[in-house]
Symmetry: C2
Subunit: 516 residues, 2 copies
């Protein structure tokens, strides 16, 4: 007898209306069991490697008849659950998806029953105002307008402190859309394509935005601090001017996803203003750092931005699907305002007038709950500890001879690589680096396949070898439950795998060339 | 003592890590109570009118300290829950948001714990393949490719049967993006703006798409069946040709949101093909009808489309946030392919290479569950009953002298209006229609404010008075629990309100002019 025998015994086939009237409370314990099963395992428990998983999901015919909940959960538990990615494991330190505080799971039941649509006031009533309130709360932490400005605008339906989006990508696209529409006159006058300028480290959502909006995207090489170099920017601006290309937006990154670096926001804001361009700060990762003291110092100029992207589902600990675009000026989103007399009326309170998306779920409720249940002090503590955890890992890596840390962490993430024996403590040739790259790819792939620990992988030009991209591990300190012991486990795991890889290479059992 | 006294008694302040380690099971009953409270009330239970709700949500300072779960739920229950919109009430027949089958609420706890990110294989593993499988299942119902095509492509990571999006808007935008990129050569050669052509009834997401993509949008007047008229289309095509404007896409609507009409897909597909343009079918509302026999007949040509939008959160009964774009040709989404060597690698299995959005939640799990727990037969039954329910309401309206039905329902929705005494059974002048419009606005607003029943409102030119837009009620038959009695309640509610409005107008207690 296991925990779900009772549920299976009570399992009944309902008619289709029954799905809407009957409760499914008898399955609660079973679902709890699955939650616990998931939280206390990791990818190593999956008996099937990723490369073979596809063979399990080839039936493409919609089930003809209804299954019962018991049948479905049984299938789910055995055929789907074991193959999910264990992002919340404290030894998985490569993702930007956090474990969620446990209240989210309980609250989600209510949020699903409510199933409010934030596009229109008619389909969300009071939550329309809650969403605006939550946006204002975060806006205040970023832009620090005076209290009167918040009181005046928070519930004025014709202006916005920003909007919720499905994620940072849609927030960044929305920012670029606003920026382009603001420059419409200049664009028409010049007849040339407008440009977005930022560093090479800009997220690839800006490639999407540029493609969608018909703009050119200029990615400038970064400086020795992994920041956008102002001299290069000035040169790019004067080139754009000489080619009569209106500059639509400058993009400053607040927390690059590989290095944690922050671009020079104040200087970029000034340059943008002089051009009539929009300054957008992509703080999808790092923007939330305004909620801790150390972060505030790193982001002291963020209030100078015209708009800021922050992902709730990264450092604000909400479920995935919670992006935010904050705009300093409450009139900014008016540049993309759309109405429809049959649906989104001009005189309405509908937020749908100001968003790229239409129908939207009430993700604001999760952020609202987090603001209350974690609180500003709780976020401060979580973020400070993440920064300290990054320093700790950096020190642990520096103490080894096997690992090479690319730079002291600027935020709560860092990149590093493994150096095989014979490649340590000296300058490497290009060919040697190629070998080390290949080795690190193999190491990360095997670590991922074994599934006990996880660090992600990137490939970047760094200050170590400015002419050559290096394959690097990326460690992200986001999980509040990751301890020193967990980090030691991650490092030990990599060392053991590396040693066996080195042996295989030596014994010619492994052809690294085939693993690129 | 109420149900949550125990929970409050056991309420504890946790340290911030405790939020990630402690369960919140002691609050389950309380949350259940809130779910039931919500499901068994309606907007009439909200003591505060929408116009005054904003005064409740003006505090814009993030809470400094953590609240306990008990404190938060107490606030939630009293200060937020009463003000949500009761979309699931069986007498609310104006929304396109359905009540959800009860298994969704239970499953959501698990989905939240998993918190998988569908963008990358590393952060969703097996769910990557489940998502592709679910897309293929729905694709098969729409496009009916042969079994070999499904088997060959379902798990081939370099092609797609489509993609999940946050909603129909992003699906429509993605379709137009694909279409424009396919026409890049023609657009560059001509140097003119490309055009999207469809009927006036196109969703306003196409205005967003046109603005984003730098395209012109041509909205043709509809014919007497509320469909796109082919002669007008042919004329528009030849005008575009004479102006050397490449036609990027034709948009056929499968289930207009006010009339339920379906554009002539087969003829439009042929015309699109002749132009080298993309034929997109916006089936956000009506596309799901392929799952019932009557709907299949209405949509017999939908397989000729190049792409089709369907919203899971409309007639497929998933929570909000579940849009789908299906593409007939598995290579179509290659037109918007984006990669990033540091994140979304070219050789990976990552779905993020082919989506407008980046990080995405596992909404596919809700659709997967619905496909199994409702099944094709269950959907067939639900959809057929909705169509029958629409016929029933139409008959009920036709039996009254007070209501004027604009047309026999083509799908499970319809528009109608109330005719005050003295305005019935005869042709009205323009001025009289203006009065009737104003009256219907007032009627719908008061009905919404009272909150016992709900029908939405639109304003459209119709065949009744082809020169003048009429204010109309829109009734949507989506809720499986809506019975004849509920519909009688809706009608009776409107009649009582109308009668008192007429009396107030007669007694000059009400100035309708101020209510436009």
């Amino acid at each position: 007898m296991n925990i779900y025998s009772n549920a299976l015994a009570a399992d009944t086939h309902l008619d289709v209306e029954g799905l809407f009237t009957e409760g499914f409370g008898q399955y609660d314990d079973w679902i709890d069991e699955m939650c616990q099963q998931f939280l206390h395992s990791n990818d190593s428990c999956d008996p099937i490697p990723v490369s073979e998983l596809k063979t399990l999901f080839t039936d493409t015919t919609m089930p003809a008849q209804q299954q019962s909940m018991g049948q479905y959960l049984d299938e789910f538990q055995h055929q789907i659950l074991p193959h999910c990615s264990h992002l919340a494991s404290p030894t998985y330190v490569g993702h930007m998806t956090s474990p969620l505080p446990n209240f989210v799971s309980q609250l989600s039941r209510l949020v699903m029953i409510l199933n409010q649509n934030m596009m229109k006031i008619e389909s969300c009533r009071g939550l329309n105002f809650v969403e605006r309130q939550v946006l204002a709360m975060l806006h205040k932490e970023v832009f620090h307008l005076d209290d009167a400005a918040y009181l005046q605008n928070v519930q004025d339906a014709n202006v916005n402190f920003g909007c919720f989006t499905s994620g940072g990508t849609v927030a960044n696209i929305t920012a670029m859309w606003v920026a382009r529409n603001q420059r419409q006159a200049a664009l028409q006058a010049s007849g040339s394509r407008g440009v977005i300028i930022g560093s090479e480290l800009m997220h690839y959502s800006f490639d999407k935005a540029a493609d969608l909006l018909g703009l050119d995207l200029i990615r400038l090489p970064f400086d020795d601090q992994y920041c956008l170099p102002l001299p290069h920017l000035k040169q790019a601006l004067s080139e754009a001017q000489s080619q009569d290309q209106p500059v639509v937006a400058l993009v400053a990154i607040a927390g690059t996803t590989d290095f944690g670096s922050v671009d020079p926001i104040a200087e970029m804001a000034e340059l943008a203003r002089a051009q009539g361009a929009h300054l957008h700060v992509d703080g999808a990762w790092g923007g939330a750092m305004v909620l801790c003291e150390e972060g505030k110092a790193m982001l002291s100029d963020i209030h100078l931005a015209d708009s800021v992207t922050i992902d709730g589902h990264k450092q604000l600990m909400t479920p995935i699907g919670c992006g935010l675009l904050l705009t300093r000026d409450v009139a900014t989103l008016g540049n993309i305002r759309k109405e429809a007399p049959y649906a989104i009326r001009s005189s309405s309170l509908d937020q749908g007038r100001f968003t790229l998306e239409g129908t939207r779920p009430a993700m604001a409720l999760y952020l609202h709950a987090a603001f209350h249940l974690i609180g500003k002090s709780g976020y401060g503590e979580l973020l400070s500890k993440s920064l300290a955890r990054a320093q700790m890992l950096a020190e642990m890596l520096n103490e080894t001879q096997e690992f090479e840390l690319v730079h002291a962490p600027k935020m709560n993430l860092m990149v590093y690589r493994y150096l095989p024996q014979g490649y340590r403590g000296r300058r490497l040739t290009e060919q040697e680096n190629e070998f080390v790259n290949t080795f690190n790819v193999a190491l990360q792939k095997r670590q991922r396949a074994l599934g006990n620990t996880f660090v992600s992988r990137t490939k970047r030009v760094t200050n170590l070898y400015p002419q050559q991209p290096l394959v690097l591990f990326r460690a992200v300190m986001l999980n509040p439950l990751t301890t020193r012991t967990h980090l030691q486990t991650v490092i030990a795991d990599q060392l053991v795998i590396a040693e066996s890889l080195e042996r295989e290479v030596r014994d010619q059992d492994l052809d690294l060339g085939g693993m690129q």
